[in-house]
Amino acid sequence: MTPSSDEGPARAITILLVEDDAPTRWRLQDALAKAGFDVDAAATLTEARASLAKRVPRVLLTDLQLPDGHGNDLIRATRQRHPDTEIMVISILGDEESVISAITVGATGYLLKDAFPTDIATTVHDLVAGHSPISASIARFIVKRTQASVEPPPGPPLNTTRLTPREIDILWGIAKGFSYAEIAGHLGLSRQTVPGHIKSIYRKLEVHTRGEAVFEAVQQGLIKL
């Protein structure tokens, strides 16, 4: 896989990378730059905001635990002001705790910090191409939330009531390790429509406004009025 050679002639995709750990930041920046992306790097929330003010990137890659705040704030603000910007979370373990909370504020995928450079580039390319990546464990977390439960399960709040049965079926397939082609085969779909469904799932899990967040929290019994 050599995305750099493929993407070279095209206009470079702009990326804002927000990561406070310097070695990791360098590593990701290297990997992305080598793949032909135009990368701005920031180590703090403040730097990230300053960078956003200068130039709106096509892709925002951000860590969540930042020295001067939480990455989710940045994701939410970016999602509201720059809806065209694709957002991905950089996660160490790809755990639902961090990824799901980021998805609810507008992220559409995650990148593992120790991913191989080629994988990093591929993931970003896929994202720009409209293929939101979703891992088996995240899919598993989401489908588990669609199952009726007396008490709210631990972890970040997540409203799955807007997901259609078909979308839930797709999530089940992903959680069990089936490929998009296999899922499409089992469900009688066209393989090409699966990524669209996944993008739709992400959008439905997103909580758009503060008011909506409160409303949904009430709906789910997380807040008692």
Binding site: P23, R27, F116, A136, S137, V150, A175, K176, G177
Partner: protein, 658 residues
């Protein structure tokens, strides 16, 4: 009868045709009972042969003398003085019989003193039982032989009258004792002994009811009935001594306690059948209390008058009310106690009316009062009714207990099930919480540091080994965290995550991952699956994958997930990891991976790699054994195939550690 006339009027408003027909039947039954009663009451009592009767007397009363024929009445008076004096005669001849002769008086009110030829042979006032107006006590006295004279003998009877009702003297018989005594015995049995037996029943019933009420204080009906029964029993056993009563007022009061007793019975009827105490219910006791007060503080004459004027109507009214309540209760519930009591009240009422007619001399012939006797019917009815209700209550308790046992058992089962569910949920929730906490810790600490190591090693020269190690550590960390997630026994959910990690691991090496699940379901669900099982299985798969990457030089790894039916038809899952690498020799009876395979040599350090691979295989076998899974390893020139057959049931503990 008047009570029968009242009932239809009281229930005339009933709408239901069925109720009406039923009411008709009930009333008909009561009328029948009343008729039977009347027939029985009017049935003549057996009497000695008429030739022994003495009926012609000269009556000397209040200064006047007249000839009378017995039975005869004299007006009531309040004094023991000036008794009416009857004088007659009978014939006796020595030759007629050598046996003893007696004077037999079947019925008199209130007391008699009998003299034969001027010698007193009998004074009924010394017999407490005979002094009771309500009991038709007969008297008999043997005439001492020395008194009898050949030919006519003088028989003088002084009739004492006290109390409110007129004096009465029935036919008198004089004849051989043997001829008269059987009739005397018969009457005694009927009018003296039988009432005592009934009184004894009443006493027993009173004791039972008192015990009952003391245990169930809320059942006021039993309290009222106990009071009525106790009063009746005491009254019956109370000796009536006219001349020197120990407590004359108390005695008089007790004898006049019938209205109070009937009040208690009515109160019982109301509480027992209506189950609601009327607002002015206390008025029931007003006549009885009035009589008691007059008895204790007034004169005996006043008491007697009041008894006739107030007491008797009160008894009658109470009985009529009781009849109505019983009829109403029977109409509503149609149970045995109501019916029994209704019939008993009809009997008593009939007798009471009969007695009143006898007192006012409309039925003059015998003057035997049956009310006291008929009261036995009521006692029997009450006893039977209570017993019936107890038996039914016991049946209900039995049924209730049986039902309760079933319900308790059902509830227990449900509780057990919900307990198990709750426990399972609590366990899952605790696991999830623990996992979330652990993940946060690892994420913030160890994870970040490992990522830094990876980044640093990639920047530095020759640090790939460190980087790989750090990456492996991260991968392991993800595995552990992933396995702790509750996957509800569906191993496929764990394999899904493993597929993500495996493809990430294989991609840099240019090895393709060929994933094939035979069915959408993939593997059977194992509810008993625990995180440690998942870790063991994923580690086995990881080991197989690592072998393929490191030692075999494979270009493709195929993972097959299958469900098959074993020898006994049990659905079992199998996972196969197959590479197209060089394979390696398996020695030591399949127990150990021997050094010397091409794959190992190719990596350079044969001995060390051999050892690593050997340890790897041992580990795989050990892990499989711990999960109860079967591991099958086939390696040859065409590649290596690891087939893991899942157990029917995952073991609870890893005691079988290999």
């Amino acid at each position: 009868m008047t009570d029968e006339a009242v009932k239809p009027a009281a229930f005339g408003g009933l709408k239901s045709r069925k109720s009406l027909s039923w009411l008709f039947q009930y009333v008909l039954l009561q009328v029948l009972i009343a008729i039977v009663c009347i027939v029985a009451l009017r049935h003549p009592l057996s009497a000695p042969p008429p030739r022994y009767s003495v009926t012609a007397f000269d009556l000397q009363d209040r200064g006047t003398t007249q000839s009378v024929t017995l039975p005869d009445f004299v007006p009531s008076r309040l004094s023991m003085q000036e008794p009416a004096s009857y004088t007659g005669s009978f014939d006796w001849s020595e030759g007629e019989a050598r046996s003893a002769w007696s004077v037999y008086l079947p019925r008199f009110t209130n007391g008699v003193q009998v003299t034969v030829n001027g010698v007193e042979i009998l004074d009924s006032r010394r017999d407490p039982s005979a002094n009771r107006l309500d009991r038709a006590t007969p008297e008999i006295a043997v005439i001492p032989a020395s008194l009898l004279r050949e030919g006519p003998n003088e028989l003088a009877i002084r009739l004492f009258v006290w109390g409110p009702i007129s004096g009465f003297l029935d036919r008198v018989y004089v004849g051989p004792d043997a001829a008269l005594r059987p009739f005397y015995g018969q009457r005694t049995l009927l009018f003296v002994n039988l009432p005592m037996v009934f009184a004894a029943w009443q006493g027993i019933l009173a004791v039972i009811l008192i015990v009952l009420w003391s245990v169930r204080r809320q059942e006021w009906a039993y309290g009222a009935l106990a009071a009525a029964m106790a009063l009746g029993a005491i009254q019956a056993f109370l000796p009536t001594v006219v001349d020197q009563p120990t407590f004359p007022r108390l005695t008089a009061t007790l004898i006049a306690s019938a209205p109070l007793e009937s009040g208690f019975v009515l109160a019982f009827g109301i509480l027992f059948f209506a189950r609601k105490w009327p607002r002015y219910g206390a008025l029931i006791f007003a006549p009885g209390v009035l009589l008691v007060l007059v008895g204790l503080f007034g004169s005996s004459g006043q008491l007697g008058k009041l008894f006739v004027v107030v007491g008797l109507p009160a008894i009658g009214l109470n009985l009529v009310l009781l009849a109505l309540i019983a009829a109403w209760s029977e109409l509503r519930r149609q149970d045995v106690p109501s019916l029994l009591l209704g019939c008993a009240v009809t009997i008593v009422l009939t007798c009471l009316i009969h007695d009143v007619l006898a007192v006012v001399q409309i039925l003059p012939d015998r003057r035997i009062f049956f009310t006291g006797l008929s009261y036995a019917a009521m006692v029997i009815a009450i006893g039977a009714g209570l017993t019936w209700r107890f038996a039914r209550a016991l049946n209900q308790v039995d049924g209730f207990a049986a039902r309760l046992v079933i319900q308790v058992r059902e509830a227990e089962e449900k509780l057990k099930a919900s307990f198990a569910r709750e426990e399972e949920r609590a366990r899952a929730a605790a696991l999830a919480r623990e996992r979330a906490r652990l993940m946060r810790d690892l994420h913030d600490g160890l994870g970040g540091q490992l990522v830094s190591i990876v980044a640093l090693s990639e920047r530095g020269e020759g640090g790939t080994g460190i980087g790989d190690a750090a990456r492996a550590a991260l991968k392991d960390l993800r595995l552990v965290i992933d396995s702790m997630d509750d996957i509800g026994g569906d191993l496929m959910l764990a394999l899904g995550s493993w597929r993500d990690r495996a493809s990430a691991q294989l991609r840099p090496h240019g090895i393709a991952l060929n994933w094939r699940a035979a069915t959408p379901q993939g593997l059977p669900v194992h509810p008993e699956l625990r995180p440690w099982h998942v870790i063991q299985i994923v580690r086995i798969l990881d080991e197989a994958l690592t072998n393929a990457v490191k030692h075999a030089g494979a270009t493709q790894v195929a993972v097959g997930i299958d469900t098959f039916a074993d020898a006994s038809g049990f659905a079992r899952g199998s996972i196969t990891v197959e590479d197209d690498g060089k394979g390696f020799a398996i020695a030591g009876g399949g127990d150990e991976l021997a050094a010397g395979g091409d794959a190992i040599k190719a990596d350079g350090d044969a001995a060390a790699d051999g050892e690593t691979a050997g340890r790897g295989l041992r580990n795989m076998r050990g892990r499989a054994a711990r999960c109860g899974a079967e591991l099958e390893l086939v390696s040859g020139a065409g590649g290596t195939r690891v087939r893991l057959t899942l157990p029917r049931r995952f073991p609870d503990s890893d005691a079988v550690a290999g």
